[in-house]
């Protein structure tokens, strides 16, 4: 699973650091499958999307918080397994 967290200033101010922290708390069998990267900016926060933004397998997700992000990751992991 490819996860990118935007660490641009807007996302940083609105909680991206919390997301990076939360990624460390994932169950090890899921954490092993994650290929984590940082993006300086997806640049979509200025227009259509609400920061903080992450991308999972190339798909953007807006207005993230640790619990919403975890739920998305678990869902993606589930669908990858099946």
């Amino acid at each position: 699973m490819e996860i990118k967290v935007c660490v641009g200033t807007t996302c940083h101010l609105l909680g991206a650091t919390e997301l990076v922290e939360a990624l460390k708390d994932l169950p090890p069998e899921i954490a092993r499958k994650i290929n984590l990267g940082y993006s300086v900016c997806f640049e979509s926060c200025q227009g259509t999307m609400r920061p903080p933004i992450i991308s999972i397998n190339g798909k953007y997700h807006q207005d993230m918080n640790p619990s919403r992000m975890k739920a998305l990751i678990l869902k993606t992991a589930e669908s990858e397994r099946s």
Binding site: T9, L13, A16, T17, V40
Partner: protein, 470 residues
Amino acid sequence: MRNFVFSEIMKIRRQLMMTLAQMYEKGTLQEHLAGIPKMLLPGPHGTYRSSVYHEREVMKQRTKMYLGMDYERSRELELYELPSLIDDILGMKSDLVSRDRFVQVIKEACDSCPSGRYYATDLCRNCVAHSCYNACPKKAVEIQNDRAVINIDQCIGCGLCAKACSFYAIVKLERPCERSCALQAIAKDASFAADIDYSRCVSCGACYVACPFGATESPSHLLRTLAGIRRGEKIIAIFAPAIVAQFGPKVTLGQIKNALKKAGFSDAVAVAAGADEVAEEEAHFLEHAAGTVTTSCCPAFVDYIGKNQPDFTDRISPAPSPMIALAKHLKTGTGKIAFIGPCIAKKLEASKGPFVDYVLTFEELGALFIAKGIEPAAQEDATVEGSRLGWGFAAAGGVTAAVKELCTRDLRTLRMDGLAEGKETFQTARQEKFDLIEGMACAGGCIAGPGIMVNPKVAAGALKKAGSAT
């Protein structure tokens, strides 16, 4: 040292700062100002509170404070009345501008939380011993519907019932702001909202961090700094050592320096350079000093001594704070200085002298970068001023370490790590002889200040690698 947990309060604050700064930069602030609360809180239902109208009212008051206005003096003003006044407000010509109060309570946001009373929760098992009932000297505990109930008219708040309960079922009701304030500077006004007693307050910002309703707020210099840049003022940005790691692990100090220059500041210099000078000066002074000297870099600590330990006032180090030391060197005729740090008390310190014109917190700097469309991570790296000793000032114990290393004689030192340790520290200082007392109003030092963006533990780790090797 406090933990740092990102909260909705921070999100509300930062979103509003960003919106105001972006609108100002686009030149649409006057036109859209009155509509901001509705734009950010579209309704029809409340986002955080039960009523969206209540939320908007709070945001209205917060907006005025972010424009730099004094809460008390501008409380009755509506946002639609501001466009004609805004140039005077941002130009500091208006009486509505806050000049000496940088921690204020937005009464509309204050929940008037109960405090000073005891409450029997439903953990009460209506035990046979009825220890609470027996422990109460005022017969304020009654047993109703199979559980203890405390009659608030008779309760004197002694807490004996809570101590007596075997089930921890009785709790003390406390206001988070009151609990956070080590100086008992938070009282209640006629309608029981929190009210700051400015004869005790040292502007440390603990209540700004603690209030879960975001009711404590600080009038901002953000928009006025942007206005200064637009007027073409030559503003030198000086950034506090606590800036390490504030923009995330990917952003270097040199990139922040270059980002500041790109944002319109004429230059950007690390305050660590000023800290180096202060450390030298204090070490030099202590070579021959008789009696105790206290540090002077934390303005809330200096204010604390004046208000609570007046017999130590003449023991405060003659060295200026690193901010002032550096600003004195850099200040020229019409030039201005903007200090960027984690601190609210610095706004008050700056207002007392001619050297520093603008004070921004890291959060506000973030909003400024966003408004200017500058991404610090995309800038080129550069070398920054200051030795590892000067950078060390940002964490508790850093000043002591620097002065000890530079002073040739052995120093006996004492530390006040947070205002809560104040009483004890100064009691010890009266009983034994110390050469240097280091005081930090925020436990952990500046990296745990009210305007930070990252966990102080992360900043402490990054701080160890900052600065040249002297």
